[in-house]
Amino acid sequence: MTTRGRVALKTVVWLVALAPLAHLLWGWWTDDLTVNPIEYVTRELGQTAFRLLLATLALTPLRLLLGVSWPITLRRLLGLLAFFYVTLHFAVWIVLDHFFDWHTMGQDIAKRPWITVGVSAFLLLAPLAATSTTGMIKRLGGARWRRLHRLIYVAGVLAALHYIWLAKKVLVQPWVYAAILAVLLGIRLWDAARAFARRRQALARDRIVIGSRG
C-alpha cells in the first residue's frame, strides 16, 4: 500500500472513530442526551469502545482468512482509539455517575462481578496503551511485547462478560458482541491449531527421512 493510501485510510479511521464522540458532544451542546444523560453517555461510550476493540481484533483474522496484511497497519491506531473510549467510559462512571464517591465505587467493584470485570478490562488495557510506541516495542523486544499484548484477548473476554452481566437477560445485543468476539478469537485458535499440526507433520516427515537413510 502506498503512503498516500495509508494516510487516507488512517484519516477515514480517525473520522469514523471520533464520530460517536462528536455526536455526544453535539447532544450535550443541544441538550439532547435523553432525559437520563449520564446513563446514555456511559452506554454510548462503552459500546463504542467495545466496537473499536472488536475492530482491532478483526485485523489478524482478515490476514489469516483473506491473506490481506495491510489492515494490520491500523492496529495500533484502532487499539488506542478503543482505549481512549474505555478511558472516557471509566471517567464518566467516576466523575459524573458517582462524583468521586470512592467508597460506593469500591463496594461496587468488590460486590458486582460486572463492575469487577469491567474495571479489570480497563486495567489490562492500560499497559498495552502505554507500550504501544515503537520505542517500547524495541525496549521490550518483539517476543515479549507480543506476549504482553495478548492481554487484549483477556480484556475482550472481560468486556463481553461485563456487557452480558450488566444488561437484562432478555436483550440480544450483548450476545451479538460476544459472538463476534468468539468468532475473532476462534479464527486465531483455528490458525494456531493448523500451524501446530503443520509443524508436527513436518517433524514426522523429517523423522521418516532420517529413518529411511539408516
Binding site: E39, F99, T104, Q107, K169, L171, W175
Partner: protein
C-alpha cells in the same frame, strides 16, 4: 382551588430550554396573555384533557418530572426494548374500543367497557413517586381512583388471595411482541400480580390519565395500575384482564429472571438487585444520585402489609 403543576413546580424546573422557547412563542401568539394556559399547552401530553380533582393526601413534595421526560423515557417492552421505542412506536396501539375482563374467584365476574371504568368513581389526581428497578425515578401526577373500587364491583370470594393483571397481547398493536430474529424478549402476554390486600390498598391506583390528560399510549393506555411502593414493572399497563386467584400468579419478569425480580419487588434500599445497588437512585432531571427510601417513601402506609416477613427472602 385547582392546583396546576406550575403551582407546585418552580418554573425553572418545569420548563426545559426547548419548552421555554415554545412557551415564549405561544405567549407571543396569544398576545402575552400570561394566564397559565400557554404554559399548560406546551407541557401536557398530546392526548385529550381529563378532568380530575387533586387529592392533597397523596402528593409527594418533590416537583413532578417534566412531562416530556415522563412520556419519552419509558420501559414498555411491548413496543421495544429501548427507552424511546414506546413514544416512537406507540401509535400502533388502539386504546378505543377497550374492554377489561374481571373474573376468577369473584361472585360477579364482568367485562367492563373503558367508558364504564372511567365513570365508576370520581377521578382524582395523585402525585406519586415512581421508582424503576433500574435505579432511576420520576414524580408523576396520575389520574385515577383506587383499584379497590373496581374489585368491590365484582365481589371477591373468600378464597381469593391474589390478583393477576394481564396486558393486551396483539403483535399488530404491540410491535415488540413480534419477536425478532433472535426470538422474543418476554413471554407474552405480560402478566403481573399482587396479593389481594396489596391490590385493595388505598394507594394502589387504577390509572386512566397523567398530567391532566388521558394516558398516552406509551404510558399504558387506556388503563393501567400504579403501585407506588413497588418497582415500576409491577404496575401493569394496557390491562385487558384482572383475575382473582388463590395461588400466586406467575409474573413476566419473574419468569424471565427469577433471581432478579421477585413477586413482591417492593422498593427497598437494603435489598440490592443482584447486579446493582438499590440504595440510591437518579431522579430524572437531577444530576446527583439521591438516597432511595424504604417502600419508596410510602413506609408509613404500607409497611404493616409485610409485618414479620423477611424482605430479603421475599424480594
Amino acid at each position: 382551588m385547582r392546583l396546576r403543576y406550575s403551582d407546585v413546580t418552580p418554573e425553572k424546573v418545569y420548563l426545559s430550554r426547548r419548552e421555554l422557547m415554545a412557551g415564549a412563542l405561544a405567549l407571543a401568539a396569544v398576545g402575552c396573555d400570561t394566564g397559565g394556559e400557554a404554559t399548560a399547552a406546551v407541557s401536557a401530553p398530546a392526548t385529550a384533557a381529563l378532568a380530575a380533582t387533586p387529592n392533597a393526601a397523596y402528593r409527594v413534595a418533590d416537583p413532578p418530572t417534566k412531562v416530556e421526560a415522563a412520556t419519552t423515557y419509558n420501559n414498555f417492552y411491548e413496543f421495544g426494548v429501548n427507552k424511546d421505542d414506546p413514544s416512537r412506536l406507540g401509535g400502533t396501539l388502539k386504546p378505543r374500543p377497550w374492554h377489561v375482563q374481571v373474573d376468577g374467584l369473584v361472585a360477579k365476574p364482568r367485562t367492563f367497557d373503558i367508558g364504564e371504568i372511567l365513570k365508576l368513581a370520581p377521578l382524582e389526581e395523585r402525585i406519586y413517586a415512581l421508582r424503576c428497578v433500574e435505579a432511576w425515578s420520576m414524580v408523576i401526577p396520575w389520574i385515577g381512583y383506587p383499584l379497590a373500587v373496581l374489585l368491590k364491583q365484582v365481589e371477591p370470594r373468600p378464597g381469593a388471595k391474589y390478583v393477576e393483571f394481564t396486558t393486551l397481547k396483539d403483535p399488530e398493536q404491540f410491535p415488540g411482541q413480534k419477536g425478532g430474529f433472535f426470538g422474543g424478549t418476554l413471554d407474552w402476554p405480560y402478566t403481573e400480580g399482587l396479593r389481594l390486600d396489596e391490590a385493595m390498598h388505598p394507594l394502589t391506583l387504577l390509572t386512566l390519565g397523567m398530567y391532566g390528560h388521558v394516558l398516552p399510549n406509551q404510558n399504558g393506555a387506556p388503563v393501567r395500575v400504579v403501585i407506588p411502593w413497588k418497582y415500576g414493572f409491577k404496575s401493569a399497563k394496557s390491562i385487558v384482564r384482572i383475575r382473582l386467584t388463590d395461588t400466586e400468579p406467575p409474573t413476566a419478569w419473574n419468569k424471565a429472571a427469577p433471581q432478579e425480580y421477585g413477586f413482591y419487588s417492593n422498593v427497598n434500599p437494603n435489598v440490592d438487585h443482584p447486579r446493582w445497588s438499590q440504595g440510591t437512585e437518579r431522579r430524572i432531571g437531577e444530576f446527583r444520585r439521591r438516597k432511595t427510601l424504604m417502600f419508596n417513601g410510602y413506609a408509613d402506609q404500607v409497611a404493616s402489609l409485610y409485618a414479620g416477613m423477611d424482605l430479603k427472602k421475599y424480594y
